[in-house]
């Protein structure tokens, strides 16, 4: 079985600063970590590897040179192979561009059974890249996974929301985005840290030239998203309670619907 895990290196803080000129993140001076949900994605891949023979886990990440550390950490947790996608042409990519680049890299890797992504990154909070990769690759996707079972040629996942869940079965290949309730990520192994930094480490660096990617779809200037401002949305409740006998309530309800032009 071949598993690909997409990880992102993020600043270790929720107080992300944004460059107002470009609308992108300012990474300088902030300690970086592997995005927490992505660690759960990696852990699940490693658990599958632990429980099955001939399973290979490849970790990929797109990012500047320092993202190297995140990939080596993934190797130190037990991933077999790491691929660092880095190129000036990738800089400033939004989720569309990032999804395009990652999908192109995954096509090049080929022959995969499961692609794992974290639900969303703590810096951008979009939760878009995973689903976009699945769309670009034209494979099924199951998001918000908090329970997973590998069957013969398919998988069964529990897709969870705040107020309920679906149990979904899908053929492989499939892309899954996972939430932190899925598992507890393991510690790095000291011996693997040293291996991850040794010349024998299975570590590749790919640039735009190495993957078959449409250059008109990537990078800052080709990104359709323009960020004007970021803020935490406030959830407002506009509902109205109608009181009375059932008949009165029904009448007032219909009046309201007509008044609001909802029918």
């Amino acid at each position: 079985m071949k598993i690909i895990v997409c990880i992102k290196q993020v600043p270790n803080t929720n107080e992300v600063r944004i460059d107002n000129d470009t609308g992108t993140l300012i990474r300088e001076g902030i300690p970086s970590i592997i995005n927490p949900d992505d660690l759960n994605a990696l852990e699940e891949a490693l658990r599958i590897k632990d429980s099955r023979n001939n399973t290979c886990v490849t970790v990929i990440s797109m990012g500047p040179s320092q993202a190297d550390t995140a990939l080596r950490e993934a190797l130190a947790m037990g991933a077999d192979e790491a691929i660092h996608l880095t190129d000036k042409a990738f800089a400033g990519s939004d989720t569309w561009s990032t999804g395009t680049i990652l999908a192109a890299a995954i096509k090049k890797i080929g022959d995969y059974d499961i692609i794992f992504c974290g639900r969303q990154a703590i810096d951008g909070d979009t939760a878009q890249v995973g689903p976009e990769i699945a769309e670009f690759l034209d494979i099924p996707q199951i998001t918000y996974v908090n329970e997973l079972k590998i069957l013969d040629k398919s998988i069964k996942a529990k897709r969870t929301f705040e107020d309920g869940y679906f149990v979904i079965e899908s053929d492989m290949p499939v892309l899954l985005t996972v939430i932190k309730e899925l598992n507890l990520p393991r510690f790095m192994d000291m011996r693997l840290i040293y291996q991850a930094y040794s010349p024998e480490a299975n570590f590749k660096v790919w640039s735009a030239e190495d993957i078959d990617v449409d250059l008109t779809q990537i990078g800052l200037k080709n990104s359709p998203t323009k960020v004007f401002k970021t803020f935490v949305p406030v959830k407002k409740f506009y509902g109205e309670q109608i009181k009375g006998t059932p008949k009165q309530v029904a009448v007032r309800c219909v009046e309201k619907i007509i008044k609001l032009n909802l029918l």
């Binding site: 550390t69 950490e73 130190a76 510690f187 192994d189 000291m190 011996r191 693997l192 840290i193 040293y194």
Partner: protein
């Protein structure tokens, strides 16, 4: 001169920090209170390679990196000195086999000790042989292809938890220090037993006790290093431990206590302002920070000397003496800054303060360290 950690060492630090916070800290108060040896923690330390750090790759280690070894002990000591003590004293016993053991001994024991959760202990001290380590009374008498060991050891870290003991015994008492030999004795050998387990003031979760050897038959191939070379092995092992056990854990302990003091002094409001605004308290913090910095770099430097294969007896004694004084000073000041809360068992400071005291005593009292330093500089 470069004081930067390597990328590998930085990653080790990150991993050790997470392990310390998620595994060691949550149970630190509990294992202290119950005097309970954290066996599961030790198994996890083995599983993730924290034990094997700095040991040869062929036995499942990471390869030589004494700084990384120091970092792990330091990070754990920030939250639980007892656990850091268990780990580092085991490592220094294992290192004895690594440095002086035969190929056969390494093949037989090293992987078990650094990867498989088997604990080793070093048994030198006796009721009448503390600082005067040459006065040991345990004897080893040749009998065919074996030696028969008789005697009692005391204050042995890991007593009863360890399965492999490196035991120093008199093979030729008339030769004094040149008549001492080191043996590997395993807990299942007939005639070996564990005596009294001590109740200590600090590092309560680390089990310390007595070992009794009653006609224990040990095959000759269990001699570590050369016959009658045990005292030298012991001294080398102790030098190593003064840096990678005492230096590392004293440093970590002081840093841990200091971090708590900083945090508390910013939060605690008295007379309408955080107590960190008081100049008297700022002076405490300044003194603590300065001593920690001095301790840190002398300890790292000494660990680098081990790594480089240099002679480090004097530096080891300096690290042992200074780092342990720093640990005592900083934990005491940190407790004082916490006021009444620091005195309560609900806060970690009182445990840290008790734990600090042992660093001035074990692996050679600080008075002995000054003797070693003076001898080296007057030579």
């Amino acid at each position: 001169m470069n004081f930067e950690l390597t990328k590998k060492q930085k990653m080790v630090k990150k991993a050790a920090e997470r392990f310390a916070l998620e595994v060691c800290e949550p149970i630190a108060a509990e294992i202290d209170k119950e005097h309970r040896f954290p066996r599961k923690t030790f198994e996890s330390l083995s599983q993730y390679g924290f034990v094997s750090i700095g040991f040869p790759k062929e036995y499942g280690g990471t390869g030589e990196d004494k700084i990384a070894q120091l970092i792990v002990v330091e990070e754990i000591a920030k939250v639980c000195v007892a656990t850091s003590s268990i780990l580092s004293i085991h490592q220094s016993a294992a290192n004895c086999i690594n440095s002086f053991g035969s190929k056969e001994q390494k093949d037989k024991y090293l992987r078990k000790l650094i990867c498989e959760g088997i604990i080793a202990a070093f048994a030198l001290t006796e009721p009448d042989a503390g600082s005067d380590a040459s006065n040991i009374q345990t004897t080893a008498v040749e009998d065919g292809d074996s030696y028969i060991i008789n005697g009692t050891k005391c204050f042995i870290t890991g007593a009863g938890q360890a399965e492999v003991y490196i035991v120093l015994a008199m093979t030729e008492p008339e030769k004094k220090t040149r008549g001492i030999t080191a043996f590997i004795i395993t807990s299942e050998m007939p005639g070996f037993s564990v005596g009294k387990i001590e109740e200590k003031m600090g590092i309560c979760a680390s089990q310390t006790g007595e070992l009794i050897f009653d006609n224990v038959r040990v095959p000759k191939e269990n001699i570590v290093g050369k016959y009658n070379a045990g005292f030298k092995i012991a001294l080398t092992g102790i030098d190593y431990a003064r840096i990678l056990v005492i230096g590392a854990q004293s440093l970590g302990l002081a840093e841990g206590a200091f971090d708590l003091a900083i945090k508390y002094s910013k939060q605690r409001i008295q007379f309408g302002a955080p107590i960190s605004k008081q100049q008297g308290l700022q002076w405490y913090l300044a003194e603590m920070a300065t001593r920690i910095d001095a301790t840190k770099w002398m300890t790292y430097h000494a660990a680098q000397m081990i790594q480089n294969g240099e002679k480090f007896t004097k530096e080891a004694a300096m690290v042992k003496y200074y780092s342990s004084e720093t640990a005592r000073f900083v934990t005491e000041r940190a407790l004082q800054i916490h006021g009444g809360y620091g005195f309560m068992k609900d806060y970690p400071l009182e445990r840290m303060y008790r734990d600090a005291k042992i660093t001035e005593i074990y692996e050679g009292t600080n008075e002995i360290q000054k003797l070693v330093i003076a001898r080296a500089i007057l030579k």
